[in-house]
Amino acid sequence: MLNIKNLEATIDNKHILKGLNLDIKPGEVHAIMGPNGSGKSTLANVLSGKNGYEIKGEIKYNGDSLKELSTEKRAQKGIFLAFQYPLEIPGVNTNTFLRTSLNSVRKAQGEKELDTLTFLKLIKEKASELGIDEKFLSRQLNVGFSGGEKKKNEILQMKLLQPKLSILDETDSGLDIDALRIVADGVNSYKNKENAFLIITHYQRLLDYIKPDFVHVLSNGKIIKTGNADLGVQLEKTGYSNIV
């Protein structure tokens, strides 16, 4: 599904990714761990097509190069990024945002746009699966949401948009144990043979709930070690300094 070869990324003259290789197949869960400043969030931004990066190397998604595609085109093709810091958009109702988003994606994929009533039915269903109160959907997008609410909202959007590749950028940071479980349950319930996950995290604790097939250690812009779920557990005990 995703094939990254020798990926380099530079922003504001800072060379951040320095030859990264990664292959993700449908149905797989990959975790990327690594110390601060190793390039984890940059990888998420580059994959989703954020402006401002100078890119070298190859990123292929289902066989096609991603490099020329805009952020929205990538999103419409099923790449989803759960933001580390979801943005607040004052005056915009959460429901309105979600519906506009879903319909943009559906339209791009040649599906019929949903009318308001059908949408509301769908979103209520998805929200209740995540234990999200309906009232939350009529509030302004992320405005005044707690850290946990914002992250749950990201997972709600993921479940709504049904992406092929979901990138979770430190979704676990700032979550209490209950919220963490809800987020993990959300991911686990969505996981299937067709879609894949790239989970960026500092800590093992999210991986206690979402079992990764692969754990990669990112350091200084490169993946320096790859293992199975045990690698995450080991890192938790010994820290990065032993490998980095």
Partner: protein
């Protein structure tokens, strides 16, 4: 709003002209022109005298130049002050008498005048250049004692009301453009709501400029008698031309005891092209008097068009416990300029005013909020709350806020909040990541920014206004 709709709307879609034969006044500003206008409208003598008095006053007034947007000197002798489709000066008795081309024009503008296709629950007065060509739902309104007609008709049929209230809020000698309007005004709407009557439908006027080299001098007068309520909306469009055209209107509102007037504007005059050539000079005086106790006047404006918008819809809060409100969205793109805001003059006790202004500037445009809140010494326990937010898109546009505040009463309070923000790249990225393209993202964020004002508009127009907000900013990010 979907991308495709947006693409279809890229051009100013109201920019067409209607080919009709016109009757024009002599060119230039003179006593002869004024007499021509008064004569063709079959006005009583007192009206002509009133106009001439204004004209004499005008001779000693100077055109103001303190505003931020400067413009080349207007040659007032090179303008036509009256232009009307042939035959329209005798107001058509029925729709069958109206030139089909004009009916077609309003249909194209989305304002069908023919009986079967009228907008539901909205009575429309259609003003084409210098004349009102049709007013819908008149009979239904008449049954309730409501008068809704062109000002020209009101001068003939309801002279007592006109004499009593015309110029009572904007005096003859107020300032240059207001006085010019008093001398040469051509048409506009007249509304009278009798005591204890709630107007059962939205009243609206649609102003259309069609003829070239012509100024439009609209005059509107709305009177809400004791305990009455009316919601009124005006819309405006004009053809695309390389010349600048002047629209200098006077709008007067009078609310008596316990009456309420809600006045909404969706202004979409031709803004000029992307290089700043052409467009309307929208120099308008709008003022409302809350003359009675517990009265209320609320102005809502969505200003997206015009090369220059220069207006301060104001409230004079005379009656005790009266309330004035001003909700404004002013959008300037390309080379458009706006210098707009409000004046809230507190005279009565316990008077309240609220100002919510949202200025959005893109391209090379310049957007100014200028406002006055004045609490006079007898206005005890009065309050004002003002919030001015500016949103900038790109690096070449400007936003300015000049609030004048005068409080002469120690028991009264004035609050002022202001913010200026740039459209946030991270917000755009977030929207893009959810599949929204750039235009959709901008539209969503800007509509969110304007929400407090948009929700003041009557339902029927809120959706249109939202689309207009998106279209006005087209191509501004990218």
């Amino acid at each position: 709003m979907k991308t495709e709709d947006l693409k279809n709307n890229t051009e100013y879609k109201y920019g067409f002209t209607t080919d009709v034969e016109n009757i024009r006044s002599p060119k230039g500003l003179s006593e002869e022109t004024i007499k021509f206008i008064s004569n063709i409208k079959k006005e009583p003598k007192w009206m002509l005298e009133w106009r001439l008095k204004a004209f004499n006053r005008l001779k000693v007034l100077k055109e103001p130049d303190w505003q931020k947007p400067k413009y080349p000197k207007i040659d007032y002798q090179d303008l036509y002050y009256y232009s009307a489709p042939k035959g329209a000066s005798e107001k058509p008795k029925s729709l069958d008498d109206i030139d089909p081309k004009i009916l077609e024009t309003y249909k194209k503008l989305g304002i069908p005048l023919v009986e079967q296709k009228r907008l539901n629950g909205i009575a429309v007065d259609a003003v084409f250049d210098s004349v009102s060509v049709a007013t819908t739902f008149k009979d239904e309104l008449t049954k309730k004692g409501i008068i809704f007609c062109s000002i020209s008709e009101a001068i003939q049929k309801h002279p007592d009301l006109v004499k009593k209230y015309l110029g009572s809020v904007i005096p003859l000698s107020d300032h240059y453009f207001a006085t010019l309007n008093s001398a040469v005004f051509t048409d506009g709407s007249f509304v009278y709501i009798p005591p204890n009557t709630k107007c059962p439908m939205e009243l609206s006027t649609y102003f259309r400029i069609n003829a070239s080299e012509t100024g439009q001098f609209e005059r509107t007068l709305i009177i809400a008698d004791k305990g009455s309520y009316v919601s009124y909306l005006e819309g405006c469009t004009a053809p695309m031309r390389d010349e600048n055209q002047l629209h200098a209107a006077n709008v007067e509102l009078v609310a008596l005891d316990d009456a309420e007037i809600k006045y909404s504007t969706v202004q979409n005059w031709y803004p000029g092209d992307e290089k700043g050539v052409g467009g309307i000079y929208n120099f308008v005086t709008k003022r409302g008097a809350c003359r009675g106790k517990n009265s209320k006047i609320s102005w809502t404006q969505v200003e997206t068009g015009s090369a220059i918008t220069w207006k301060y819809p104001s409230c004079i809060l005379q009656g005790d416990n009266s309330v004035g409100e001003f909700y404004s969205i002013a959008i300037t793109n390309n080379f458009q300029k706006a210098d707009t805001g409000t004046k809230m003059i507190h005279l009565g006790k316990n008077t309240k005013s609220k100002i919510i202004s949202k200025g959005i500037s893109a391209g090379n445009a310049d957007n100014m909020y200028r406002g006055l809140v004045e609490i006079k010494n007898k206005a005890t326990n009065s309050r004002n709350y003002t919030q001015c937010d500016s949103l900038l898109m790109g690096n070449k546009c400007g936003a300015h806020t000049i609030p004048y505040i005068k409080n002469n009463n120690a028991s009264s309070t004035i609050e002022h909040e202001a913010t200026t923000t740039k459209i946030n790249e991270e917000q755009l990225y977030y929207c893009n990541q959810r599949g929204l393209d750039q235009e959709e993202a901008v539209s969503l964020i800007v509509n969110g920014f304007c929400k407090e004002v948009l929700q003041q508009l009557p339902m029927e127009f809120a959706v249109e206004a939202q689309k207009l907000v998106a279209i006005s900013l087209e191509g501004s990010v990218g």
